[in-house]
Symmetry: C2
Subunit: 382 residues, 2 copies
């Protein structure tokens, strides 16, 4: 299997992009990534997107995007794994380069969410339609059950649960692409509208328009054309139960643990090698459980550790320097790719005021549904 | 790049499967394929599906299907390229095996179409939403323009245009999985309801529920566990214009030509090496143009050649022994995979009354939209 590197990245601003269609957004990110890599032609394209059919009445995004970005003729396909679509698009692109079939492959992600008027129902198609969505449960509802179970089992307080969003917003202030780059306090979280008890509005990632793209390249070629290629050292991916009621324990996300274990094994790394990690904080409770499943904290101790500052600058591991899904924004199909962009920029030393010093390895963790799927990447500067 | 083989196949009946949900159908096909291959565990899963969100309100099919077929934990993703989703799922699975990442990977496809009441609008999401679908044009309308252009340019008669469906139905009579296994005459085509002039109902592939799955395996391992592995000798994939008005010539499908050229090059083969081919006859005119783009007939001569019997048993190449999309049925996400199943069974000599003798190489051609994407596979018995 050939070594694979990332040689270019590009993304749109994340937010309410009323003036851009889904193809406008994707093309902007794609062309920025190609400029960044210094390439004018790609061999193949993977587009991560959860639900463009329901959001915009446009499927067939591989063809649409290859055409509109000026690369008509190349192979192209869309990849979907709910909110993990972006990360899985990168995994699929990795396979094509690793196999030797292609040298330069783009993996991008996009979601146009603000145009739809039934966003919760669309997002619910990532859950078990027959046993969950059909009964009326929404994603905040599913994660609320996980939050209650965790708080009960481990004694996490409501104030501690508010801390992942607080840190994510603090980090986002330094991210020019973030949707909500403002300070958030615990009081701000606790006084926001109730969505699904105990989760309030400021526990939940927002509705976001946006796109992101990275260019993958065989390492041999990358060393010729790029001065700072970033190696994809490990990839792990896994599925879990599509329905929350099939979890053995509501406070665990087995797919995240499995994906992490597989990525660590491929990379020959352990949690202590990870300097920074972008995690899938779709809800405040998700960030806590994910940080535990990835091995950064023991089960039941992640919530208090994060509240105590062990996952921000100077802590054990810096989580979500970008602001995470909560503050950077969460255009679901783009999120997994944008996570990689943050880690690439950190490893290349161009993260500006967000820069983490002395990075050993960087990691991303992207998730679909209530743990129905997850994908983890481990990156290294060479 | 490692050699890759198909070691097992399975599919549902194609038709109106009112008693089966989308997950029931996929699981049936998947478990049949695993039985056929003699494996109880797969390493990874790709699910081709065009529009499960719009048809069934269920996205996240990788997780759903891995879970319901009893393989929870494996990596899984959905692949979408409109009606070429199935073929592209096989391409993605091929890359994972070829790269060395996994040994045994399932590529399947599924579509549950009969439950929706706005099928034409859903299918139109495979066209250019902003410039085509939004104006009200449907897929029969797009292909009708191609048919008119071809008939005008090359003098094809309405009776000749009816012949691909006539032959496809004749072949389907021997296919126990076909949706419409009955004889169809030219008169039957010409007296069917007008859909979009000149295309009548019997020029159009039907609405179909169904699923199909194949198991890919590294050739080294395949030779140990399978007595008749089928080598994937060539794969070619390409995009074309998403919108019909961007075609340079309405009688051409550039993505099909490009995909064919790439597959022939990879396989070291030419059109004369192909004994049988499953083509994407979504409409009668499509079968004619595709047969020309794949090099079986000269431009403008495919329609008359097919009408003269040059693409049935005893002809230059046997096209659509399965009955094709028209008579076997066209559950869009499953179609590309079902095409491979037909060719695998032919190459293994287990196609029953449909058997073609003395096969050199077999081919499949799967297409999305009005030529927005296409993927071609060339298969060989070893």
């Amino acid at each position: 299997m050939r070594d694979v590197a990332i040689i270019g990245v590009g993304m749109t601003h994340f937010g309410e992009l009323w003036s851009q269609s889904i193809r406008d957004m994707f093309s902007e990110a794609a062309l920025k990534a190609m400029d960044d890599a210094g390439v004018e032609k790609i061999d193949s394209l993977y587009v991560g997107c959860m639900s463009s059919g329901l959001y915009t009445n446009q499927e067939h995004l591989g063809s649409v995007m290859a055409d509109y970005m000026g690369q008509r003729g190349i192979p192209a396909m869309r990849v979907e794994s709910a909110c993990a679509s972006g990360g899985m698009a990168v995994r699929a692109a990795f396979m094509e380069v690793a196999s030797g079939q292609s040298d330069i492959v783009m993996a991008g992600g996009v979601e146009k969410m603000w145009d739809a008027d039934d966003g919760s129902a669309i997002l619910a198609t990532a859950s078990d339609q027959e046993y969950e969505a059909f009964t009326g449960v929404t994603f905040p509802g599913l994660y609320a059950m996980m939050a209650h179970a965790y708080m009960h089992k481990y004694g996490l307080t409501r104030e501690e649960l508010a801390m992942p969003p607080v840190f994510n917003h603090r980090h986002a202030i330094n991210n020019p692409n973030a949707q909500y780059p403002y300070e958030l306090t615990v009081k701000g979280v606790l006084s926001s509208s109730m969505v699904a008890d105990p989760l309030r509005l400021m526990d939940c990632s927002p509705i976001t328009d946006g796109a992101a793209a990275v260019i993958l390249c065989s390492m041999d070629k990358a060393k010729q054309i790029c001065k700072n290629p970033i190696r994809i050292k490990g990839i792990g991916s896994a599925t879990g139960p599509i329905a929350l009621h099939n979890h053995n324990d509501l406070t665990r996300l087995d797919a995240v643990r499995l994906a992490g274990e597989r990525a660590y094994k491929m990379a020959g790394a352990t949690p202590s090698d990870i300097s920074l990690c972008e995690v899938h904080d779709c809800f405040s409770i998700a960030q806590i459980i994910v940080a535990e499943e990835l091995g950064f904290f023991e089960y039941g101790k992640g919530g208090k550790a994060i509240a105590n500052g062990e996952a921000t600058y100077g802590g054990k591991v810096v989580i979500n320097t970008s602001g995470g899904l909560k503050a950077k924004g969460h255009p679901v199909g783009a999120t997994g790719v944008a996570q990689l962009i943050e880690v690439v920029e950190q490893l290349q030393g161009r993260a500006g005021k967000r820069q983490v010093e002395n990075i050993k390895l960087g990691m991303t963790q992207n998730m679909g549904g209530s743990g129905g799927s997850s994908v983890v990447h481990i990156l290294e500067a060479i």
